[in-house]
Symmetry: C2
Subunit: 406 residues, 2 copies
């Protein structure tokens, strides 16, 4: 029989199963308290609003166009709503700057596809969003470490990229409440990333998946807003802003967006036309209905719930984590990042935890492009109630304490 | 400012605007009779059935999971329905062989991504589906001509692929009522393609987008069915079957599927996880509802309408096309392919037609990987009523006659 490996493209060797996905299967085990997933709490979905939106589509003359093929750039009223939304973030733009994708994960895939030839270099933080690494891996890049507040010289990046056989193409980062750390890059760090990108003459990919979910502290301008303020116009910028409705409205519709220089958007539209024609017409219309009628109220609702859960989890960590551990104090998002004493392996801890403490989390190693970070793990508070958090972190703290002791 | 071309991947030079897409814009001009689009007639969409399906989702306990993230392989009840559907086509398979994609265009993109490294060779017919060429182009292959009933030797393919710097990876074809020709590959041709693939040890990609739309003549077994009959089990086959709900139910939901060897499906699932996580959960559920409740009735309805339109168009061609032209006589699908006398250019004819005859069609050249086929064009009957067909083909025939005469 055909030996498939012999005809797969070279990129296929970098397509491997996701630890997070495998772990999500554990959510079904009722005896496990899981902080592993990074998904929104379905109890907070605006289901009545979506119900009304779909019903309205089928009760209007829009039904035939909702079920039909549509343009690759996306549903115009949704793009118009996004233009207004971006203006409120100090990102003035036009329709030509807004492109709808099937979830911001697809945006990352398309940007990898647009920029990366094999052996090119992508700059990412250590750790970074696992899904970004997976999306980019298909285009066979190497990675170098982006340190927003560090002081690596442009020449050192160029030299390393050249040694790897390609060029640096972009710096990817999540500036607000990043997955997995929950941390935010401050204004100085954002400006340094932008300055580095200018010196290297590369793009910046700003992953804003959690941008709306700030619970306290002062908002920091998106990198794209900073660059527009500096250069005068979005069509004179190098920052590509990737947004999502998955954390605010609902992920199951697969609707996200990219806002950027029109030169990039035009290329992405051509790419999408060849890759999947367009994102679901009916879902784009439904998202536009729900967003127009009550995006701010929905965001206010979920922020109130998630910020409470973050508070409860931070208090529980303070109460139960043994000396020698540390963790981030996120101002938003869904995640807290725990660092264990050196020598304690997050993956081994998870295996033990699933047997004894019955608590799930995500070991940190997968989020590091260089495979480091063994002594870290990610917990999410988005789907956990007070009792689960108290109980789960208590058990986890006890397990870690015994590991340190042992 | 950043010179984007300097950081785009090499593949981006092959991403160009689609002539068909540009032409679709003409559909809005009320004075033009258009046979250009290849889209289903929206008047035939099962809109009441979809209305009920979405309403049922929001009135059931499934609503939260419909709005939530879901697994990359697709919604299980839809895959179960497809297993039964495939059995009726003599394609016995299991859940592990069925994978949901966001329209069969995405399936083609993923298969290009899975198999093609730069300079590998894809075998396609001359002409072939333009969207397949666009999807594959992103992975920088070369093309060689697949001739289902021809007699090229495997060695000649190997030599040409090797000269191009890679290997032959797959043969792609639409065996039933192909876009753009409307033609069907007979059983002998299918077996020859399979034999060639076996000798070259490559995959066969069977694009079955129009498979359900047979209006007369005897059904011919899918290539995958033939191969399973020969080898005993789908997991011992090399044929990858790509299907769509876009022509039968509705394209706006973006739901298609791939049925193949589990070894291929496993790799595609990993690819999708990295590329867009999964296809829209709610749309997969809605498609499953509508398919379970009345797929056959819906297909019977559209076949009756489209077969009538095909008959009217064939009769009009017979009546109005001048001597020296010829055209295909499709047994199904949406398209008829017209060949003009040598020297008459389809693209120039279109430009003239839009000014004088006011009839739109798609010039054939874009469907040829080698850029030949100038004297051909595609007409679609799927969205045209009797009067439009009579009037449009009459005007087009007169224009062509004057071109031949002049």
């Amino acid at each position: 029989m055909l030996n498939w490996e012999s005809i797969f493209a070279t990129r296929s060797s970098r397509m491997r199963a996701s630890e997070i996905r495998e772990l999500l299967k554990l959510l079904d085990r009722p005896d496990i308290i899981s902080f592993a997933g990074g998904i929104p709490d379905p109890a907070l979905f605006p289901d009545q609003e979506f119900k009304a939106a779909y019903a309205d589509i089928f009760n209007s003359s829009a039904v035939n166009s909702a079920l039909q093929y549509s343009v690759s750039e996306g549903y115009k009223p949704l793009r118009e709503w996004l233009v207004k939304q971006m203006a409120a973030l100090n990102i003035p733009c036009e329709l030509e700057n807004v492109f709808i994708v099937s979830g911001s994960q697809q945006g990352l895939d398309y940007l990898g596809k647009l920029f990366l030839s094999p052996d090119d270099t992508a700059l990412v933080t250590w750790p970074t969003y696992l899904g970004a690494l997976q999306a980019f891996n298909a285009y066979e890049p190497t990675y170098d470490q982006l340190t927003p507040n560090g002081n690596r010289t442009p020449d050192s990046y160029r030299a390393q990229a050249s040694a790897a056989g390609g060029k640096v193409k972009f710096a990817y980062l999540s500036a607000d409440f990043a997955n997995p750390t929950g941390e935010t890059v401050d204004q100085a760090g954002r400006e340094k990333v932008l300055a580095l990108a200018e010196e290297l003459d590369i793009a910046v990919i700003e992953d804003a998946a959690y941008q709306s979910l700030r619970y306290d502290g002062n908002p920091i301008a998106p990198i794209l807003a900073t660059e527009i303020a500096k250069n005068g116009h979005i069509n004179d910028t190098r920052t590509i802003y990737c947004g999502s409705f998955s954390k605010t409205l609902a992920p199951g519709l697969r609707v996200g967006f990219i806002v950027a220089n029109a030169a990039v958007i035009r290329k992405l539209v051509l790419m999408k036309q060849a890759a999947d024609l367009h994102s679901s017409t009916i879902n784009q219309i439904a998202i536009a209905h729900v967003a127009e009628r009550g995006f701010d109220a929905q965001v206010a609702k979920i922020k109130s719930v998630y910020s409470h859960r973050r508070n409860v989890m931070l208090a529980a960590l303070e109460k139960y984590m043994p000396a020698g551990t540390s963790w981030t104090k996120p101002e938003g998002g869904m995640f807290i990042w725990v660092t264990l004493p050196k020598g304690i392996d997050g993956a081994k801890l998870l295996a033990k935890s699933l047997e004894t403490a019955k608590v799930a989390f995500v070991p940190g190693k997968a989020f590091f492009a260089d495979g480091s970070g063994e002594n870290t793990f990610r917990v999410s508070f988005s789907c956990a109630n007070d009792q689960m958090i108290e109980e789960g972190i208590s058990r986890l703290g006890a397990l870690i304490e015994s590991e340190i002791g042992g």
